[in-house]
Structure formats: structure tokens, C-alpha cells
């Protein structure tokens, strides 16, 4: 059991978004949080990513309560939300360089990585001049850099074209095969991942 959460509940603006949510995640799992717009999927992911506190509930990483091993958990976590995490005035290469330096990864040439992601020739243009889909690819490039085991992704396929979606799905499969786990939300059908996919439905309240 890599990660589990019990009896999570979230209150936003005096509205109960969800209560009594239980999550179990083991190595190799892909957990899809499903639900209507407004059901609280993004709020749940932000709680799991350590950005906000749940109103109630306990989270455990590898059996240890999160309040005691927060740094360990954060080191094993990669979160990609709605915001790109990409600085618009820097180029794609500079953005990746920044993340490498912050995560203390060895500095390396990311030309190859960006080429794999279909951004060949665009490495040194300020990211604000790239299209939404291209910016999304730069943002997702972190998934190829990070050593984190747990990935928490909020609608990762937004703005991507078919080839990129396919590429991302096979990268997910590889990650799970290597012992990682993924929690994601998406409105896209995921035919390639149907085998490992589990679903958790969040009820839309009010």
C-alpha cells in the first residue's frame, strides 16, 4: 500500500463538497477520480497533493501518517494541476533547467526530451508564444524528469492532440510498470489504460 486516505471531507465556501471519501493506492495503480463538473475532483486532488488541508480525514504515505512524513511524501510526489507551472517569459529549456536545479537533478541537455515531445525547434522561444497545447507539453515534460513515484494529474490531456494523448498514455503505462502510481482526473476515454484503471466516483452534492 503506497498511499491511503480515509474519511476525507472538504468544505469550501460553506458548501460540503464531499465527505467520507476513502482512497487506496498501490504501486502500479492508475486511479481515476470521476464525477460531474463541480463535484470536487480538483479540490480532492489538491488535498492529496498537499496544497490544502482536508476539513476531516487522515492521509497516510507508506503506512505513516502524513503529518509525520510530509517531506518524504512531497519528495515522492509530482503534481500537475490546471496551471501549467511554466514561466511564460522563459523558454522551454530554461523552464526545465529551473526545475532540474530546484529538484537537485543533474543538469542535462533537454533537447532530446523536448524533441520526443514534439517540440523540436521550439526549445528557445519564450513559452508565452507557444500554443496552449505546446505549453501543456512543456508542462508535462516534468513527468519525464521527475523521480517521483506518485503522480497526481488534474486533466492532463487538456489541449493535447491525438498523438500526444497516445504518447502520454504509453508513458503512464511505463511508469506503472516501474512501480509508480497515478491519480488523475479526465473527461477523456482512456482505451490504452483500461486494464489498470480503477475509478472513484465523486458524488455531486447540491
Amino acid at each position: 500500500m503506497l498511499f491511503n486516505a480515509t474519511k476525507l471531507s472538504c468544505v469550501r465556501q460553506d458548501r460540503i463538497l464531499f465527505t467520507d471519501v476513502d482512497i487506496q493506492l498501490s504501486a502500479g495503480d492508475i486511479l481515476q477520480i470521476a464525477g460531474r463538473n463541480g463535484a470536487g475532483k480538483s479540490s480532492l486532488l489538491r488535498i492529496l497533493a498537499g496544497l490544502s488541508e482536508p476539513s476531516e480525514g487522515a492521509l497516510r504515505f507508506q503506512g505513516v501518517d502524513l503529518t509525520k512524513c510530509h517531506d518524504d511524501y512531497a519528495a515522492n510526489l509530482c503534481f500537475i494541476g490546471h496551471l501549467s507551472g511554466v514561466q511564460g517569459q522563459l523558454t522551454a529549456l530554461e523552464n526545465l533547467q529551473f526545475w532540474r536545479a530546484c529538484w537537485q537533478l543533474k543538469p542535462a541537455d533537454d533537447w532530446q526530451l523536448l524533441a520526443t515531445l514534439g517540440l523540436a525547434g521550439l526549445e528557445d522561444i519564450p513559452c508565452q508564444h507557444l500554443s496552449a497545447g505546446q505549453q501543456r507539453r512543456v508542462s508535462l515534460a516534468r513527468l519525464w524528469l521527475t523521480p517521483a513515484r506518485i503522480w497526481i494529474l488534474d486533466e492532463p490531456f487538456t489541449a493535447l492532440d491525438q498523438s500526444a494523448i497516445g504518447q502520454l498514455q504509453s508513458h503512464f503505462q511505463q511508469h506503472c510498470a516501474n512501480g509508480g502510481a497515478i491519480i488523475l482526473t479526465t473527461h477523456q476515454p482512456l482505451p490504452m489504460l483500461a486494464a489498470q484503471l480503477r475509478q472513484l466516483e465523486l458524488e455531486y452534492r447540491w
Binding site: R46, A49, G50, L51, S52, E53, H70, D71, A74, A75, L77, C78, F79, G81, H82, L83, S84, G85, V86, Q87, G88, Q89, L90, E94, F98, W99, A101, C102, W103, Q104, P126
Partner: protein, 224 residues
């Protein structure tokens, strides 16, 4: 060490951004000069009057100019989601904050110090007064930057940003304004002003000790 890594990465990145967006440091500088010029235009340009009010108006223009540049401090990183990433990965935020403040001082504090000889010209400052102006700016602009960073962090996700930031932080500028302008005034009369400088230095040390922690907490709560 993770702290040094994050500090250097952020500092380098921010300096690079400043080099690319020259308006980020040129605008506050020209704002400073414009505000300074408003006083003779509004009050009258008699040399004796100007010399008398010079300490006050230099410092008022300086603090307004730093306040102007404050809003952009964390806004871009917040909007782009970079801040969210730093909080989620539990990277040492105080290092990030210090690096941003250092870069911000290079953008809004350092230009003022470099341009200060111009002030001597515009306001007819004596030599001793000018030395005092540079000394107070050297000690005072980091303090201004620290406090404006606090305001920027607190109002990060608020709707009304700019004016709210000014409203929240201006009362905290008042002690610095009092002592800095008093120091320059003393210098203009040829009197010693070491005490005032010492008090400003003390306030700077206190702020260096307490403000990064408060900024770090404010950033976390705005991202959450």
C-alpha cells in the same frame, strides 16, 4: 543543500527575467523621478523650500516607487502555477522568498541608489545631505523591499491587489520614513545622524529575521 540550490536557481531565473523585461525595473525608476518632480511643481520651486523638504520627498517618492513594483513580485509565479509546484513539492520556500526579494531589490532598490546623484542636482542637496541620502537608501531600500514583499504575499489571491497592498503596507513604512528623513535632515544641518542609521539598521535586522517566515506562511495560504 536544497536551500542553496533553490535560492540560486530562483535568483538566476529572476535576474534573467529582469534582463528580458526591462520595464520591470525602468518603470519604478521613472516613477520615482516623476513623483519627485511633482513636489516642486505642486509646492513651488524656491531653493530654500526644496532643500528643507528634500529628505521627506525623496523618501516618500522612494517608498511609493518600491510599493509600485511590489505587486508583480509573486503574481506571475502564482498565475503560472510555479508557486503551486514549489509548495506541493515542499521545496524550501524561505529560500525562494529570499531570492525573489534579493532580485526585487536589484530591480527597485538598487536603481534608486544609482540615480541618487541626480537627486542632489534636482533638489539642491548639500554634500553631507547627499551622503546621508545614499546611506539611508542603502539601509532602507532592503527594508522597503522586505515589507512590500509581505504585502504582495498577503494580497496575492485578493481581487483588488494593488491599492489593497498599498493600504496594508503603508502604515508599516512610517517608522522608516520618520527615521530616514530625520537622518538626512540632521546631515543637512551638519549634525551627526549615526543614531538614526543605527535604528534603521536594527529595523532591517528585525525584518530580515521575521518577514521571510511571514511571507512564506502568506504564500502557502494563498496557494491552498
Amino acid at each position: 543543500m536544497s536551500i542553496a540550490a533553490v535560492f540560486m536557481a530562483t535568483f538566476r531565473r529572476d535576474l534573467r527575467l529582469l534582463a528580458r523585461q526591462k520595464s520591470d525595473w525602468l518603470n519604478p525608476l521613472f516613477f520615482f523621478l516623476v513623483v519627485l518632480s511633482l513636489f516642486p511643481l505642486g509646492i513651488g520651486a524656491k531653493p530654500n523650500l526644496l532643500r528643507e523638504i528634500a529628505p521627506g520627498i525623496i523618501w516618500i517618492a522612494a517608498l511609493l516607487s518600491v510599493l509600485l513594483g511590489a505587486e508583480r513580485l509573486f503574481k506571475q509565479d502564482y498565475r503560472d502555477g510555479v508557486l503551486e509546484q514549489l509548495v506541493s513539492a515542499r521545496l524550501p520556500l524561505p529560500a525562494y522568498v529570499l531570492a525573489k526579494m534579493a532580485a526585487s531589490w536589484c530591480a527597485s532598490g538598487l536603481p534608486l541608489i544609482i540615480v541618487s546623484p541626480l537627486l542632489a542636482l534636482l533638489l539642491g542637496l548639500s554634500e553631507s545631505a547627499f551622503v546621508a541620502v545614499v546611506a539611508t537608501l542603502l539601509l532602507g531600500t532592503p527594508l522597503l523591499t522586505l515589507l512590500s514583499a509581505l504585502g504582495a504575499a498577503l494580497t496575492l489571491s485578493a481581487d483588488k491587489g494593488g491599492i489593497l497592498l498599498a493600504l496594508v503596507i503603508l502604515p508599516f513604512y512610517i517608522p522608516l520614513l520618520i527615521f530616514a528623513s530625520a537622518a538626512v535632515e540632521q546631515a543637512a544641518f551638519g549634525l551627526p545622524y549615526g543614531a538614526q542609521l543605527a535604528i534603521i539598521a536594527a529595523m532591517l535586522c528585525l525584518a530580515l529575521a521575521l518577514v521571510p517566515f511571514a511571507v512564506f506562511k502568506a504564500l502557502k495560504l494563498n496557494v491552498g
